[in-house]
């Protein structure tokens, strides 16, 4: 069973700029799949198609077997965007409660405060997000996703910009999601994190899937993900 399944996804900006060209891959249940690729490779476009923020022009996307545009599919996935544009006029507590309400849940304040403390945000849960630093906003996004615990968590470079301690904790928490049988699609440029965390890697370039294989296999073949990406970018195959 796949929590996310994409087949033949194509998306173009205008007539010539093809951002995605027949992309297909799956995120199996209870796994972490790393999505990587250079800037402009189509990673964010792909994620926005998954969440129907861009209308897919061809291909199919299913979330837990449901069409991605269905309200039920919306309830099964949580999206952490690459930017930190959160409602600054809310406190983190209000933001978390609001997100939970959208999913038909009730935010557990004790769990939230515990997460806040572990992410080094003690005493800031009831402060306006307006007063948060860039890193704190990212942590707030992450904490909210960890609290609502959806079948599929999609992280679009959200981990960029958080400190090492928080990153270490985030890795543990994401692994915890997997242990609970939930899935994560993790888009990041942090290769060591992907090598430690991801079960599979999907490598996109110029809107096409270059590699879709288990992380261990790719590391064994290329030495590291960094080497794999560099050798591809420097090769004449592009």
């Amino acid at each position: 069973m796949n929590d996310l399944e994409i087949t033949g996804l194509t998306y173009s900006y205008g007539r010539e700029a093809k951002a995605l060209d027949g992309v297909g891959f799956a995120v199996p249940r209870g796994s972490i799949v790393g999505l990587l690729g250079p800037n402009g490779s189509g990673k964010s476009t792909l994620i926005r198609n998954v969440f129907d923020l861009l209308r897919s022009q061809s291909g199919t996307i299913t979330v837990d077997g449901l069409p991605h545009t269905a309200p039920e599919a919306k309830r099964k996935a949580v999206y952490l965007s690459s930017n930190d544009y959160l409602p600054e006029f809310l406190t983190a507590a209000e933001y978390t409660a609001m997100i939970a309400r959208f999913y038909g849940l009730e935010a557990d304040r004790e769990s939230a405060l515990d997460l806040c403390s572990r992410f080094a945000m003690d005493g800031r849960y009831d402060d306006l997000i307006e007063d948060y630093s860039h890193g704190m906003r990212k942590k707030t996004q992450l904490m909210t996703a960890l609290l609502v615990r959806r079948r599929l968590t999609v992280i679009d470079e959200t981990l960029n910009g958080i400190d090492l301690e928080a990153m270490h904790l985030a890795e543990k928490e994401l692994a915890g999601l997997r242990d609970d049988g939930l899935s994560v699609l993790l888009c990041t440029h942090d290769f060591p994190v992907l090598e430690r965390l991801a079960d599979r890697i999907v490598f996109l370039d110029r809107g096409r899937v270059v590699h879709d294989a288990p992380t261990a296999e790719l590391v064994a073949d290329h030495g590291s993900l960094d080497t794999m990406v560099r050798s591809h970018l420097e090769s004449g195959d592009r």
């Binding site: 900006y13 476009t45 926005r48 129907d52 309200p71 949580v78 952490l80 930017n83 930190d84 307006e130």
Partner: protein, 509 residues
């Protein structure tokens, strides 16, 4: 239909919080004193209007049969008022899609997002209509007591609702039509133009309708007029009137929900005009922001249509008054040009920024005023007499719209700030106009007072620009200070090319 009303309601609640905590706390409204002062002024204006309505209507209290006629005539005006409010809200919401970024991480479908915005448009239109007729409603209740309720229901509430919902259905159908014709990218703009034509047509029929209703009342012929259909039904059977009204409202609401487009339409915020090399010699980047804005295109088309109508209708109003419509193009100009002021090499004094904001609009105005005047002088020289007053008023409109855009800066192009600014300007200048009217000052003195007001408004705009820019620079230079926003709107990579398509998620067109 992929629609959960509850999700839309939650999103609407989020937007309401945005309004309360951001819009009502930004610009001039940062100060509690200003907020309190604005509330007092609004209450004062409302009291003055109620008093005027009371004085006007009190003699009618002795002749209750005249109430029916007065409400019938008011309904005819109400339809125009609803059309105008609907049109203004649609124009202001054309660029509102940026606000949607707040909802990108929420588990809602595009149709649910669209419904949340429709709820806001409906609520704001409702408030505008209610404000327009509240003085009359309060006075009616004061003079007639509960006997006024059926009149208010059949002459105001139900007709306003039905007309609004009907316009909503028409707007949806128009958007679908433009999409079929491969004009989806400018569907909002084209629909607004059609609605404006409809408004002009209706305004031309209003006088005749009012005369016919009045004649019918005195002749006891009781000819049917669609505007007063609900009141006519009520006269025959209140139960039938209520039932038919409920069915009509339910059917139109369902039609609005059903017609919320599900196909993709990309709404252009800027139009690729003035791209030639010559334009670059005349236009500054500030001017490009204005002349390429889709709302400027709406204002320009409306100004031209209004000019043609006033010139050909020959109703005694100088056609150059159409230029006032152009002033609305500047309502988002200050917020729209913020990225230019954030460029490191672009630091300029507040006065220079102000002049740049005004220059583009002044050029636009001149570009329309000269050919319009020449055409008007050729077609109907008499109608063009005393064109100085409307042209000067249009220039004064620039001062006012720049003031609104500066004092009520529209974060993320949200239309609420602009609406709040328009409301404040309406209250202030409404009171000034009433005051001048009561004082009966000589014309030169009245003109001097108005000129002084314009100067004060311009000076206040410059002071606010200075304050806004100082605060912005402070935010950027003090990066990790508590209480200071770290990253500004527009800094996020996802909002540039490759970002989510706001038109798609708003309208799922």
């Amino acid at each position: 239909m992929n629609l959960r009303v509850r999700q839309s309601r939650y999103l609407a609640a989020l937007l309401l919080l945005f309004f309360r905590r951001r819009v009502l706390r930004s610009g001039a409204f940062r100060s509690r004193t200003v907020r309190a002062g604005a509330a007092v002024l609004a209450a004062l204006l409302f009291a003055v209007l109620c008093a005027a309505a009371y004085l006007f209507l009190e003699p009618l209290a002795l002749t209750p049969e005249l109430w029916e006629l007065m409400f019938a005539i008011s309904t005819v005006s109400l339809v125009l008022w609803v059309m105008g409010a609907f049109l203004v809200i649609k124009v202001l919401f054309i660029n509102a899609a940026d606000m949607l970024e707040l909802s990108y991480q929420l588990p809602v479908t595009n149709r649910e997002r669209g419904l949340a915005f429709l709820m806001y448009e409906a609520a704001i239109t409702g408030v505008v209509v209610a404000l327009g007729f509240s003085a009359l409603a309060v006075t009616s209740l004061a003079l007639m007591g509960l006997a006024a309720v059926p009149y208010l229901l059949t002459a105001f509430a139900v007709p306003a609702l039905v007309v609004y919902l009907g316009l909503g259905v028409l707007h949806h159908l128009l958007v679908r039509l433009w999409t079929l014709l491969r004009l989806g990218g400018i569907a909002g703009l084209l629909s607004v133009i059609v609605l404006f034509l409809l408004l002009v047509w209706y305004s031309t029929t209003m006088n005749a309708t009012i005369v016919a209703i009045t004649d019918g009342y005195y002749d006891r012929t009781g000819a049917f007029h669609w505007q007063t259909a609900v009141a006519s039904m009520w006269d025959r059977s209140p139960a039938v009137a209520l039932a038919v009204s409920a069915v009509a409202v339910a059917a139109l609401t369902a039609a609005n929900l059903f017609l919320t487009p599900s196909q993709y339409v990309r709404q252009s915020r800027f139009l690729a005009v003035f791209t030639g090399r010559y334009a670059g010699r005349v236009l500054h980047p500030y001017d490009y922001c204005l002349v390429r804005n889709s709302q400027t295109a709406v204002a320009a088309v409306i100004a031209v249509l209004l000019f043609a109508y006033l010139l050909l209708a020959g109703n005694g109003l100088n056609p150059m008054w159409s230029l006032v419509a152009l002033s609305t193009a500047g309502l988002y100009h200050y917020a729209g040009t913020e990225p230019l002021r954030r460029l490191p090499s672009a630091t300029r004094s507040a006065a220079v920024v102000y002049l740049r904001l005004c220059k583009g609009q002044a050029l636009l105005l001149v570009a329309f005023a000269v050919p319009q005047f020449l055409i008007g002088a050729f077609v109907d020289p008499v109608a063009m007499a005393d064109s100085a007053t409307p042209v000067l008023s249009a220039f004064a409109g620039i001062v006012l719209t720049v003031w609104i855009s500066v004092v009520f800066p529209s974060e993320k192009n949200n239309p609420f700030s602009v609406l709040l600014g328009i409301a404040c300007a309406a209250v202030m200048f409404g009171l000034i106009a009433i005051g001048l009217g009561m004082l009966h000052l000589p014309a030169p003195l009245t003109q001097a007072v108005l000129a002084a007001c314009a100067l004060v408004v311009a000076a206040h705009s410059i002071v606010e620009i200075h304050a806004n820019e100082s605060k912005r620079r402070n935010r950027e230079e003090v990066p990790d200070h508590r209480g200071v926003a770290r990253e500004l709107p527009g800094d996020h990579p996802g909002r540039h090319r490759g970002g989510a398509d706001a038109a798609h998620v708003l309208h799922q067109r």
